[in-house]
Amino acid sequence: MMTEYRSGLLFPLFRQSVSNSYTQVFFAKNPVLGVLLIVVSFFDPGAGFGGLLAVLTSNLTAYFTGLNRNKIISGLYGFNALLTGLGLGLHYQLNLAFVIVLISAALLSLFVTVALEGIVSKYGLPYLSLPFLITFWITMLSTRQFMNVQLSERGIFTLNEMYLLGDLQLVKVYLWFEEIPLPDVVKYYFRSLGAILFQHHLFAGILVALGLTFWSRMAFLYSVAGFAMAFLFYQMIGSDINTLSYSYIGFNFILTAIAIGVFFVIPSLSSMLWVILTVPLLAFLISAGNILLGPYQLSVYSLPFTVVVMVLLYHLRVRERFHDRPALVGIQQGSPERNLYSYFVNRKRLWHLGRLPMSLPFYGKWTVTQGIGGQLTHKDVWKYAWDFEIKDEGGSTFRNDGNKAEDYYCFGKPVLAVADGFVAEVADGIADNHIGDANTRQNWGNSIVIRHAEGLYSQYSHLQRGSIKVQRDQYVRKGEPIAACGNSGRSPVPHLHFQFQAAGQIGSATLDYPFAAFLKHGQHQQFFASAQPMLHDVVWNHQPDPLPDQALHFVPGQTIQFEWIQGEKTEKVVWLAETDIYNNSFLHCKDSGSKAWFIREPDIFYFTHFEGKTNTPLFDFYLGAYQIVTGDNPGLQLQEDITTAVFPMRALLFIHDFFAPFWPFLRIRFRIRQLRPQGSLDGSSIQMASEVEFRIAGKTIRTKNFHLVFDKNQLNEFSIVDGKTTKTLKRV
């Protein structure tokens, strides 16, 4: 891998870093958009040259001064230099002095970028084009005194230059474009789009728009909407949109709409509302900014966009409620479409990752008799707590008359530590009450508090007197019995009170935290990867089964070989289990270059996303093994949504992208059930059947069926039934 990189040109992935430096202006990393933008930038050769030279200067310097390689490749250290270079290239004539100034300005922009990154990233904010603004203003002000750097006159006599460049034909084409009978607002939109690259040709704008749409339909849609909103706004307040067009600062509305509407935020109707909200703010900043900077003969350029986006993102970040209106992008996948589709499936599916998995504090099935925000005592800061009891067939919590604590099924039953940790506090010696009585003086009764992490404690209360097996500061393991359920404290009948809390004292304020991997009793058994049991739920801990558990344990570096049988044809399929530098694991099909990323939790196997070709067996495996609970749970069924981004009808998906933020009508539904109940002692075989449905507006248009056989500690067979064809992967 390393040698592959070293042999790259000058530094790894040189081309990507250049292309991405261009596309980052629109937050994108898309090679097609990259090529388009580079071409467009050369519509003005001076600007194009200036931009490219600045990008190269900045990226190479970043590389040779040892900055983060991934950021260089992503173009994060290039795009501000690009903007500076474009601007300067447009303003000045090409000569040696200018080249020196340009290179110096590119360097300045890099230094400012790194410094600003250090400052704003603490607040979780992007630096946007702030480095460009600072660099560009400084350069513009200072070059007035550099006599050898001369202003260019190209911008003034456009047609003359055209003629020089490409004869009369070019002039004709140019004029034809200028005269296309488009409504003013559309022309202004394209011009503003071109202006982002310091190009004022309509054609440039149209090309950029095409590239933008190719990268992201949602970005294009929101940019149009944002600009239209601005147009309306200016009409309403009685200002001339022409001023926007003239000074080329209409792009502020476009970029802000992309940033706030779709890129840093999950695209939705509410993100659209936020985009509307930004219009007047931008208008204020544009007008005020120009008046303020006018005396210095400077323009505001993208300052309004930068300020508004930073302020609003910070505002969204510090919210305490309504996190989904609109939701911020958690893991940036570089495309609004991908972000949105991942958000659709993962907000419920993977939100718990990174939390400490907590098991239920007991053996067997217990019933929640008071839940979160319960009627009796789970109120105010003690809201996030549970009371658990055991009920019999008839729903009673006791045998005989229930006059003695011993009559209650839960009384004396083991209470377990929910995770590893140190015992933070123990209270013992409080008598168990007579039934019906309550000790309000020592209301928590005999209790244990365990520290699992800084700011994450669990408390177990009303324990049986004398049953506590642990001492303060003792280390306890997950699932270890620590005491017995009792009836001490404010407990009229035996029960276990449990809560998570942020502090280590008995009775501290409770913490909103879920349990992991438990089952719920009901008409159909339900599995929860992470959830909070509700009142009356009958719940118990899930137990992983060694067979699927081991079969789905892919060791990094492991080669997995299959025979791929399609009717008469048999091919060999080889997958590699790999891990990247961020510890993300994936199966890699080297032949097709496809990757299926997965996450392995103790009780569950998840595929998270897929990259590459969808006609490969790896893609089918991604679909068919999308989510597997690694336990022996006969009849257990799971249902999940698979990201729409892998929908097989690409053209339809393209159209869908425009609708998805408001009305997602495409859906991929995954269902799996365990076929043969299996004992865990002989490790013979577990079979599962899964089904993936592709749906358009609620109608299933295609179904793929999968059959998984786990055998001898591995996945032995995987078959795919797609319509009438059956294909099989057989482990070699």
Binding site: F362, Y363, G364, K365, W366, I390, D392, E393, Y409, C410, G412, K413, P414, G479, P481, W540, N541, Q543, R676, P677, Q678, G679, S680, L681, D682, S684
Partner: protein, 454 residues
């Protein structure tokens, strides 16, 4: 009240005057007639299905099972029940347990085949007992069943078969031990105290041809002392730890067998079984506490297997029968002859079964001997029991007959009756038909020269 209504006739009672009782009629009969079983009138059942008749309650079976499972599952992380086929192997009954998640515990080739025919997966059958033929073992090995080795001869045979079949059998050994109760069941399995068990374990692990998956014990029957199970559990755990220490091999399960007492009253017991039999919770507490406190510290806690049979099903079945006659014995005692005898109620040899009339009766009672219909002196259901005055054709209900009767009954003198199951909707299903003379004769063959006689 001018009308005089005719009083019901009651036959006269002769009762010995006992001078230590303040009441000349002695103690009152406190039991009540049981006229309905799970919502079905005993009279209707007999009218429709004949008398005698075994009646089993699906509701009661499931309830008992869930109670037992809850008692263990709320105390220990991994619990599995295996239905003891010999206790009651009527297919319908077995399948109720299998539906509830039970595996099968069998002790013969016949029971093994029955479990397989019921659809139990091979790897969920535990094969116990001293009598496993080579054919049985081959079958069990091929099906990946769990084989509990009873003696060294079996161990050697198993090794040979494993070598031939080239399959590694999943085995456990049965361990017998002193748990402080009498009698010690030392005829099954390998003894713990004298080192036989450890020896057998070494033989298995050294052979390298078998997978040692579990340890099994079954310390007795109708155990009234949970503490004996605690002793047994800690001894098994100790063995498991020894294996782990010496071979770094984890035992996957500990099978505590069965033998939990039911609510029946043993003959000679001073107090009724319902008062002295421990509950599932008592047994569960003893076993799980002992296991958790043991020094066995594997990575995964071993699965706890329970093979309890009797305590799960005894009170879920009744035998209903009819009074054939009343007699007075030579000593003046009353005797009543029922049409159900020890031929179908084998457990009458062990228990003083509770017997109640199925119709209302008055408070007058007599000491009564209750006999079965067989022309054999041993056919006694109760030697002496206080009974109200019974008449010919009265119906009687014999309680707690679910365990061992429908497997140990015999076709002796007369034919065996029907067995019905009342489901959770109180619907009655015949789950075993009564025998006919053709059933019995179909197995017989008379040589030609014996066909005719004058």
């Amino acid at each position: 009240m001018t009308m005089t209504s005719k009083k019901t006739y009651e036959r006269p009672v002769i009762k010995k005057l006992e001078n230590n009782m303040p009441n000349k009629f002695g103690t009152r009969t406190i039991f009540e007639p049981i006229s309905h079983l799970e919502g079905q009138a005993v009279n209707d059942l007999i009218a429709k299905y004949g008398s005698p008749l075994f009646v089993i309650s699906e509701r009661k079976i499931r309830k008992n099972f869930r109670k037992a499972r809850q008692a263990f599952e709320t105390r220990y992380p991994r619990v599995q029940f295996a239905w003891s086929y010999k206790t009651n192997y009527l297919d319908a009954v077995c399948n109720i347990y299998h539906q509830e998640g039970s595996w099968a515990e069998v002790v013969s080739g016949f029971e093994y085949d029955k479990a397989i025919r019921n659809g139990v997966q091979g790897n969920k059958i535990i094969f116990n007992g001293p009598d496993k033929s080579e054919t049985d073992l081959r079958k069990a090995i091929t099906n990946h069943s769990l084989i509990h080795i009873d003696h060294l001869d079996e161990l050697y045979m198993l090794q040979d078969i494993a070598r031939n079949l080239n399959i590694r059998p999943k085995v456990a050994i049965r361990v017998n031990m002193d748990t402080g109760v009498y009698p010690t069941w030392d005829r099954f399995g390998f003894n713990y105290e004298n080192g036989q068990a450890w020896d057998a374990l070494n033989k298995i692990l050294f052979s390298g041809m078998m997978d040692l998956v579990g340890l099994h014990t079954h310390i007795g029957t109708f155990m009234l002392s949970p503490s004996a199970y605690a002793v047994a559990a800690s001894k098994l755990a100790h063995l498991a730890q020894s294996v782990l220490t010496k071979y770094n091999h984890e035992i996957k399960y500990i099978d505590m067998g069965g033998g939990f007492a039911s609510q029946n009253t043993l003959k000679g017991s001073y107090l009724p079984g319902s008062d002295i039999s421990p509950s599932f919770d008592d047994f569960a507490e003893a076993i799980t506490t002992a296991l958790m406190n043991s020094d066995y510290r594997p990575k995964n806690p071993p699965l706890l297997i329970l093979e309890t049979g009797r305590a799960l099903i005894d009170d879920a079945a009744w035998l209903v029968s009819t009074v054939l006659a009343n007699k007075r014995l030579s000593d003046g005692r009353r005797s009543t002859i029922l049409n159900a005898g020890v031929n179908i109620l084998f457990t009458a040899f062990w228990y003083d079964h509770k017997i109640t009339p199925a119709q209302p009766f008055t408070s007058y009672t007599e000491d009564t001997a209750i006999y079965g219909p067989l022309c054999m002196n041993i056919d006694v259901l109760r030697e002496s029991v206080t009974m109200p005055l019974l008449n010919k054709d009265d119906h009687m209900v014999i309680h707690h007959v679910g365990a061992y009767n429908m497997t140990q009954w015999m076709q002796f003198i007369t034919l065996r009756p029907k067995v019905v199951l009342i489901d959770e909707q109180n619907k009655v299903h015949v789950i075993r038909n009564n025998e006919s003379i053709d059933n019995i004769r179909s197995l017989e063959h008379v040589p030609d020269h014996l066909l005719n006689f004058e």
